[in-house]
Symmetry: C2
Subunit: 148 residues, 2 copies
Amino acid sequence: MQNSEAMALSAALLAVAGELTRRIHDGVVARGFEGLRPAHGFAFARLAPDGATVTDLAVHLGVTKQAASQLVDELVRKGYAARRPHPEDARARLIVLTESGWGCARAAEEAAAEAVRGWDAALTEEELRVLRETLLRIAPDGPIRPTW
Amino acid sequence: MQNSEAMALSAALLAVAGELTRRIHDGVVARGFEGLRPAHGFAFARLAPDGATVTDLAVHLGVTKQAASQLVDELVRKGYAARRPHPEDARARLIVLTESGWGCARAAEEAAAEAVRGWDAALTEEELRVLRETLLRIAPDGPIRPTW
DNA sequence: ACCATATAGTCAAACAACTTGACTACCTAC
DNA sequence: GTAGGTAGTCAAGTTGTTTGACTATATGGT
């Protein structure tokens, strides 16, 4: 593949990612969850399964733990997350989603589904399936970070 | 497609985009172009063909023209771009890439090609081609913005 | 059991990117 | 020619993040 083709692929990927991020964010806002930025969504992704510590979050987001701590402050203040004592380490705290936080996570899923449905006009169901599988194959195991 | 599948697709897409951005940035730095952030890359994308005005850039990046102007200041100070008088409008200035700026743009293409080659381990040449065409079909016409 | 060292988290100050507000120079249309 | 709009910049304020310093708890060696 030529350099220019690789760049075209990259640009398309980044354009789609940017647009998707914007749509998910708008969809979440439209469902009544305000005061959140896309960066919070990346935190939710890490918190959702079983909670996480501030340090876990910091690594996941690629920021300092101070920044992660402030982000958690914000989520707690807005009622989306809560700090609970960590069951195995008295120094640490387990950050978990509240009911409202789970509602927001569901809203994000709905918004994502809605955004993806918007691609139906350009892609068949089969192409969409192939796209998903292809991306899952090259997606890094690691964290989702808003690098730029 | 179920909501959770759409979310998995979205997460994979964002993870790949984040990783790709990081790799391109690292590759550009490795080629000796320093003091640049990924955001500058998005500006380059708009400046590269024929230059652009500050207002064009601001719209493209989704920021205020003051922010775009500051970003141009930085590129000029670092020797990647220059402000030239606009041929048709004495109020405006045409921002163009310098030789060093073009060198950086080429470095970004090489870095992108290198990053994409890293996917060869997981994808066949044919799958890569399909991925590129699929993404180009759903990529918005609009600007590439670092929305998050 | 004790001490040295490392880790989890927070507070505070410094910093960087961006926004809002105000202004000048130039363009465009009536 | 004059009124209103647009391109760009300067300055100040806001926001998110980092760097530095500190406390509390954990861990490993002796």
